[in-house]
Symmetry: C2
Subunit: 329 residues, 2 copies
């Protein structure tokens, strides 16, 4: 009966948030078309003529199909992506054009960079639970390759282009599915540890020259991020587990952001032994906002995560933002 342990509290405390009766009705995912390898690490990059819109549309159609629904059934489209496709309009409007042209479904972006999907599910679970929306299509995805710097080996060999999507609906009567607790924190000491400085408002494309060309590339300060995570994550996690009134062993599976190959060092230090969390960094790399929903979708499709399982989505993001979302799938 291990599967249902999470439904009773071991500690006898009280969870600080009310359950939101929502379910992920369907998920989908898509990988970019070009497969490359760096040693034993496999990565995916956009093939000629392909764009993030293609990947996002494919993932969303798979999610809708898995939910037995049509785009017309959705009453909100949310792009939970880290990077803008254009400075204007928002990504939501551009994916709307691909999938919902002629319909009047509202479209918007919610962005906390790499953990945008977690933030979106946290927020939308409240909006669906309170009745503001009923059936929401959430799309995540990024194409880091558009801005990767071949000179920065660490990031150049880490990222993949991909997308993932889910349909979030109200849980029907008798269904156990729910979001149990969510928590996000941002420590802006890390605001410039992961960034693309150029291309947008603060440093428009017009300002690019040979001297500052590097500012328009993705720039990651890996060791600084790891250090900040090591300082902030343990306390954050303990606070979340306490407020969520849950013990690590009650969690069926942790779906962490596939931040880097350091996942196998960090997760055990946080009290999650190998096997208790999903690590697909070697197979897919870091897919930015798509990492968490992509890994979740794969785990659902392969039976690693089943209905009723208590799962934890968690991750770190440029910001530095950390996100924690506990749900019964």
């Amino acid at each position: 009966m291990k599967r249902h342990m999470a439904q009773t509290s071991l500690s006898g405390n009280k969870r600080t948030q009310t359950e939101r009766g929502v379910r992920i009705a369907g998920m989908g995912r898509a990988l970019a078309g070009e497969k490359i390898t760096f040693g034993n690490q496999t990565r995916y990059r956009l093939s000629q003529g392909q764009s993030l819109l293609d990947l996002a549309e494919k993932a969303a159609n798979e999610a809708l199909s898995a939910a037995g629904m049509n785009i017309k059934d959705m009453d909100l489209i949310v792009c939970a992506m880290a990077t803008p496709l254009q400075a204007i309009p928002c990504n939501g409007a551009l994916i709307h054009e691909r999938m919902a042209k002629g319909l009047d479904i509202p479209a918007m972006d919610i962005n906390t960079t790499c953990t945008s999907f977690i933030s979106a599910v946290d927020i939308l679970s409240c909006l669906v639970d309170c009745g503001r929306y009923s059936r929401v299509l959430i799309l995540s995805g990024d194409t880091a390759s558009a801005a990767l710097n071949p000179q920065q080996k660490e990031s150049y060999e880490l990222f993949s282009d991909g997308a993932a999507a889910c349909v979030l609906t109200k849980a029907e009567k008798g269904e156990a599915s729910a979001v149990l607790y969510g928590c996000q924190k941002t420590w802006s000491e890390g605001a410039h540890d992961t960034e693309i400085r150029g291309g947008c408002g603060l440093m428009p494309s017009f300002c690019m020259d040979e001297a500052n060309r590097e500012d328009y590339y993705f720039d990651m300060k890996g060791p600084r991020i790891l250090k900040l995570c090591a300082r902030r994550l343990p306390d954050f996690l303990n606070q979340c587990l306490f407020e969520a009134d849950i013990h690590r062993e009650e969690i069926r599976k942790v779906v962490p952001h596939q931040a880097s190959r350091a996942l196998d060092i960090i997760m055990p230090r946080l009290g999650f032994p190998k096997g208790s969390y999903i690590d697909r960094v070697s197979e897919y790399g870091n897919m930015v906002s798509a990492s968490v929903p992509f890994a979740l979708c794969e785990a659902v499709n392969t039976g690693v995560i089943c209905r009723g399982d208590t799962i934890l989505l968690m991750g770190t993001a440029a910001g530095l933002t950390v996100n924690f979302l506990l749900m019964r799938y």
Copy 2:
């Protein structure tokens, strides 16, 4: 007693959404430092060394001060802006660095371009009402001047750089303040009527050359937008008024997005006579996401809008997105 008419329904219908007991506890605004004129139209542009972060910080500090609060009292920072400051991280993290460095307040972006503020208040009113957050700092603002095309007179002479902010909190017992109803729709036939095509994922800065330089400028197809608005707005508005169970005459003041000088043509056609809505286009131009909160802040500061007044925030945005939010201030 005209002021309180809105609290009783004229129609006897039932509003389709539940009231969310929230209040705008304080507001602030900031204009860019350089004042210019085009005929009888006044516009504001960033002065040397000034950035959107300066304006947003000033507006936010004014909002916090008006609310009698400190940044430490906030449990969420939301940037509801149209354009990214950097492709990574999100604007929320960058404003967090300015205002909340060393604190762990979560930061995020919510984006529906020009109506981002309306979407953010709609969403956050639900999150505050259900207890997910308690005191939220919402910042809007854009510096269109970073990408305005001097060759496109219509847009070049329309936009201003500015910011505005509000503190959103739970309404205390006995307070009338509430969000009564919100509705957004997106019609992506208009996705490319207002856009900046270059600089981000679909067309990175590296792709800019002399032939496509115009793609990196703000591009507005005014007549196409007006035509699409004329086709979509009347039905949208009637549906909202019906679902919100409110008559136009029960609304104390409409705060529309200051989209263009056509405001004076469009609003009366929508059944809102001159005087029933705020029009400050001649004084400030279109401040993108800052337009609605800036106009609202000014109206509150000058006593045009008072506590208990039923007000309507509405606007059109690149997307084409339209937004409608009815609240008791």
